[in-house]
């Protein structure tokens, strides 16, 4: 997957990460949104005794978008860790947030609800994996 040209227009800077470097830390506060320009990123959730990988993202995918779209707070809901060397584009968060905020209330509700469901579902999966240990 290549990076969408419209997404490229939002990039304000680039960041490089080496293999296994932490990009986003679960529980921390932040609303930076990144797009993967090169490499792969694993999304992980902490469970007792380790980290559970819930998604592997590649070029063109976003990292950190959930914190922005949540209605409640901007706490990071999962870890994002480099899987090999990674180059990320940092998106213009002011512009992105402005555009997001200017969407109709129902659209925002719809999408933030989706994010909430992801978090609940992820938590459920994590709980079940823990329970089975």
């Amino acid at each position: 997957m290549t990076v969408n040209s419209q997404v490229l227009a939002y990039i304000v800077s680039e960041e490089s990460y080496s293999d296994k470097a932490v990009i986003v830390k679960e529980g921390s506060v932040g609303d930076w949104v990144y797009v993967i320009l090169k490499g792969r990123v694993k999304i992980k959730k902490r469970i007792s005794g380790g980290l559970l990988t819930i998604d592997t993202l590649s070029e063109g995918n976003f990292v950190g978008e959930m914190a922005m779209l949540k209605q409640s707070n901007s706490t990071r809901s999962a870890w994002a860790v480099a899987d090999g060397p990674v180059i990320l584009g940092v998106l213009d968060s002011v512009r992105l947030l402005q555009e997001w905020e200017s969407q109709p209330a129902k659209i925002k509700k719809l999408i933030s609800n989706l994010i909430q469901n992801i978090e609940e579902s992820t938590q459920k999966a994590a709980d079940m994996i823990e329970a089975s240990k």
Binding site: N4, Q6, V7, Y10, V33, I54, D55, N61, F62, E65, M66, L69, L91, L96, E99, W100, Q103, P104, K106, I107, K109, L110, I111, N113, L114, I115, Q116, N117, I118, E120, S121, T122, K124, A125, M128, I129, A131, S132
Partner: protein, 259 residues
């Protein structure tokens, strides 16, 4: 349909009883629901069993996944009332325009979130199946109670209608008022004084015609299944199920009932 073309359908609230199916996995459906009161369970089917992936409460949205997927895919999960619920239905037409105007980047982000939720739901289902009984009824065998038909959406109306018993002379005409109507039948009240010497009984079939919009006449044949004295004296309330309707009239009814 020309009358409603371009017009945004109104927001409608629906009531569901405990156990009613609101959305069925695999169906094509386009409505989005917001929970006003009550709890709704989200279930995913897998090999004859159904797994609960989420329980949603007031303020939360049901049915948004098909919308974000562009209304081209079928419902990816079922939604069922876990208690008596009130839901507000949003017709996607009112959101589609706004969604299409949204910056591409936001749509791509929503698309990615959609893929992730589908993945996570799948993971929950697989885990529940693996863990079987130990996860206290996380996964249920599909029983009759859980696969029962969706309750037909019943639209509350106040429609004047004319009717006559099926085997009565064609010039006979009685007046009634349809109180609610669904895909399966209707309920109407009739002034007993207007019935003259005609008596109605359970099992009788009636020809009924009414207008859904000022120029749209609809004919139906329905059988009386329940006959009750009205709350106010001098009226009788008829519970009826449809026995015949022409395809065109059925289509009109379908559009009329669309939330």
């Amino acid at each position: 349909m020309t009358k409603t073309k371009g017009k945004i359908p109104p927001v409608v609230t629906l009531n569901y009883s405990n156990g009613d199916l609101i959305i069925k996995e695999g169906d094509y459906g386009i409505s989005i629901y917001e929970i006003i009161s009550g709890k709704v369970g989200i279930f995913v089917q897998s090999g004859g069993t159904e797994t609960s992936v989420a329980v949603l409460g007031p303020g939360m949205i049901v049915g948004e996944m098909a919308f974000i997927a562009g209304n081209t895919s079928t419902r990816s999960a079922s939604a069922r009332a876990l208690e008596d619920c009130c839901l507000e239905v949003w017709h996607p037409a009112m959101l589609l325009n706004a969604y299409q105007k949204m910056p591409e980047v936001l749509r791509l982000i929503a698309g990615q979130a959609l893929k992730l939720i589908v993945r996570m739901n799948k993971m929950v289902v697989e885990l529940s199946l693996k863990q079987g009984q130990t996860m206290n009824r996380q996964t249920q065998e599909l029983s009759d109670q859980w696969t029962k038909e969706r309750k037909f959406f019943r639209k509350m109306v106040s429609l004047e209608c004319v009717f006559r018993p099926v085997n009565s002379p064609k010039n006979l005409k009685f007046l009634g008022q349809i109180k609610d109507i669904s895909k399966g039948g209707l309920q109407m009240t009739v002034k007993t004084s207007g019935l003259l010497n005609c008596t109605l009984a359970s099992g009788d079939e009636l020809f009924i015609s009414t207008y859904f919009t000022s120029n749209q006449k609809v004919n139906m044949t329905a059988k009386i299944t329940r006959l009750q004295k009205g709350k106010t004296g001098g009226t009788v309330s008829l519970g009826m199920v449809f026995t015949h309707m022409d395809p065109n009239d059925r289509k009109r009814l379908g559009f009329f009932l669309m939330p």
